[in-house]
Point group: C2
Chain length 155, copies 2
DNA sequence: GGCGCGCTGGTCAGATTGACCACTCTACTC
DNA sequence: GAGTAGAGTGGTCAATCTGACCAGCGCGCC
């Protein structure tokens, strides 16, 4: 298993500066941070190559794609068919993320939909995946603290 | 309430191209997509200005900041002190996200930690926030489907 | 028909980048 | 102490890109 490269203080400063302007030129970042242009360039290249950043599209708000409803689906699986279930879930575009927690629940699935009625459709689609025994859907009423890592970067 | 701008097919093509190379020059994107340079530039500017994209740092993997343990904390709140609770949660760097679901649980809190022991510390810190009556922590054992929106973009 | 919007293709000065180089500093090993 | 490797700085230069602006065209709306 590849060990995820750790970010040092310089990397974190660059990443925080990119929050201000994600497409800022390397020269501009270098001037703002008091670093050499080559340093910023090599750090960005290294971060891009090392997998410490997720894909650019993870920045896209699902609402802007017409999916204003978010929910979390808990699923219980047929233990011998986990791979089938996961493969089927991958095929559902509205499935944003799928985690395996400790405890009774087998999967926690983050989904989006265009409306409550559409959420019903997505939930049904999940329920009917092979290997899925039972599901429970909880609609998210509000995003109280939007996803962030800035506080960790700034430490 | 400001209505989130919707992304059209051209926007989505640009965003998918950015998944290939997040720092690709506008000229390169234009050539790849068969669009005029001015079109790509104006679309990127509009997406940047309209809030359809989250901050750049949302791309950062928490593991690369030493937080290899992820968990979900469910919290029950003192209804009259929700604002206090949320303000206190905002002050905890390890809190990545906080959602308000329908149902018995008042808050679903996504957290990270450096180790199971550190997770205990973070859970305690949350439990001791003003307005938080009771919490339940579930460690995430595995990310089965990493967060993605590519399937929605590609529709 | 007129108007507004968005796109294309264009220009041009200024800025940036990619690739390379030499030098310096630090940390590590022997 | 000497030698080595890695990382950063400051530099060069040709190629590329960008920002700002422009004219023309097509489409949708009134």
């Amino acid at each position: 298993m590849i060990r995820t490269q750790q970010l040092d203080a310089t990397d974190r400063r660059i990443l925080l500066a990119l929050d201000e302007d994600p497409r800022a030129p390397i020269m501009v970042l270098a001037q703002r941070l008091g670093l050499a242009r080559g340093t910023v360039q090599s750090r960005l290249e290294r971060m891009a190559a090392s997998g410490v950043l997720r894909g650019h599209s993870t920045r896209v708000q699902p609402e802007s794609l017409g999916r204003g409803v978010t929910a979390e689906v808990s699923a219980e699986l047929d233990q011998s068919r986990i791979d089938d279930a996961v493969a089927a879930l991958r095929g559902i575009p509205e499935v944003l993320e799928c985690l395996a927690p400790a405890g009774d629940t087998d999967l926690l699935i983050r989904v989006v939909a265009t409306s409550p009625d559409d959420l019903y459709r997505v939930s049904e689609e999940i329920r009917l995946c092979p290997g899925i025994r039972r599901t429970s859907t909880r609609m998210i009423l509000r995003t109280v603290i939007p996803y962030r890592t800035t506080a960790l970067l700034a430490e």
